[in-house]
Amino acid sequence: MSATVLGKNATAAVAERAADFPILARQIHGRRLVYLDNGATTQKPQAVIDEEARYYRESNANIHRGVHWLSQHSTDLYDRSRERVRGFLNAKQAAEIVFTRGTTEAINLVAASWGRANLKAGDEILLSGMEHHSNIVPWQLLAEQTGALIRVIPVTDAGDLDMQAFAGLLNGRTRFVGVCHVSNALGTVNPVAEIVRQAHAVGAVVLIDGAQAVAHQTVDVQALGCDFYVFSGHKLYGPTGIGALYGRKELLDAMPPWQGGGDMIHTVSFERSTYAETPQKFEAGTPNIAGAVAMAAAIAYVQDVGIEFIAAHESALLQYANEVLGEIPGLRFIGQARERAGIVSFVVEGIHPHDLGTILDMEGVAIRAGHHCAMPLMTRFGLPGTARASFALYNSTKDVDALAAGLLKARRLFGMEQSA
């Protein structure tokens, strides 16, 4: 089946699911909500909202604590949620999945635990030039503590990683490579399997930031071969405050705990404590149980719709957006990478992205305007920021039309073309 045909079928099948998202019935400034800020966070389907409420209504108790029925029930739900994440990423075992607050906390966990135990002065940390601040700053903190050095894989004018430069940067001192699967600012899909292969050839450990990938394409951590993979529930139609770290079991087992507290210990005395096994070792304190359960419901929802349908639908939307927005005078796309997913980043000559954001908002169109927490990337393109529209399964060509109409209105307001 050609991409276009699949795209058309997918659009028909997926478009119906917009009705699953109650917030989309809202009006903003008297207009239909056109939500195109999915890269920041996605909206939640009724099934996820219901599941979180149902957990509190029927199942709430602390896990791994009581002998009472509810505690065991809650523990079972939490374990099943972990198993759901395992299947979603195709990890070998559920013990390789650690629940975190989100992508940011997962990266901080790896930097604090694996990083402090394994890096020393002169070691090199290799990050891409299109990383989100959350995959930069934890490594800077680590570099300050250990004396390790950060090196950067450059980004081409088109918004691709410079793979030739990457190969040249790899050397015997490269201990760690951190790369986003999909760029949050440009939508670039990075060749992560190839990056893993080359990094492993010099003995480096690889973390893939999947925050912008998991809602848009199938992820198979075994096929990718990565050492760590991280994502957030809230960009995947799930709740905020929950996410996951996948880590290869051997690595997680060898890593020291990073936060101490209840649930992560085996025995405690004032002389010495021993720690629980992976993954409990990394989950000190009462976790976000309801969040984990609701994130599992979000994964089930995505699996029910079909991630390949979502991918085809969003790919068709992206193509449509390229055509429609491409006709707006003064509009310049930022990032035209070979492979992109779900995100279109642009500037309009003479109108600051922030002004575009406000004008579109008055039309009910929600986009992101600014540096997208990727300031080094904006500097590389010589821009203070861009306007970004990012798609989810419930978006339609009508939403893209509303965006285009809003942009034309902004140009009229700024006196750039005659009013109709």
Binding site: H29, I351, P353, H354, D355, D361, M362, H371, P384, K409
Partner: protein
């Protein structure tokens, strides 16, 4: 025509477009006695305000930087409003502008600066309009840190 842009016209008045397109006093003052940098980390707006103060009077003032139409126009209008004013009056204007943009309109008329009064209805944009004023305040009170609107 009036109706086409609705509430947006409250925010984007013609004077604002004019100052955005042709910002006044948009240059560096080599012999500045005071200067400060301002940065809005949320949207990336960045500017430097220069002032030459003598005998308690802001004799010259200017700015450089980049930002949205609201922040550029606000900075431009500010330089026009404070040039030649005593430092005490500049501080009073800063307080009054802050009140107009965030709380309630001050008792007196703020002249040309009134075109920014519509910003109050757009909470996400208030910081765009206050950045230049915070930066000027820091410059003339010689605070050394980069002004932030956070």
């Amino acid at each position: 025509m009036i109706g086409q842009f609705g509430d947006l016209r409250e925010l984007y008045q013609e004077v604002i477009f004019d100052h955005n397109r042709r910002p006044r006093n948009f240059h560096c003052i080599e012999e500045a006695t005071h200067q400060a940098d301002g940065h809005n980390p949320l949207c990336g707006d960045q500017l430097t305000v220069y002032a030459r103060v003598a005998d308690g009077v802001v004799e010259d003032v200017s700015f450089l930087g980049h930002g949205c139409a609201i922040s550029t126009a606000s900075a431009s209008l500010m330089t026009e409003a404070v040039k030649g004013q005593p430092v005490e009056e500049v501080e009073r204007l800063f307080q009054d502008m802050h009140a107009m943009l965030t709380e309630s309109h001050p008792d007196r008329d703020l002249g040309k600066l009134e075109v920014l009064s519509g910003v109050r209805e757009f909470p996400a944009r208030v910081k765009c309009a206050t950045l230049a004023w915070h930066t000027l305040h820091n410059a003339i009170t010689q605070a050394r840190e980069t002004a932030k609107t956070e």
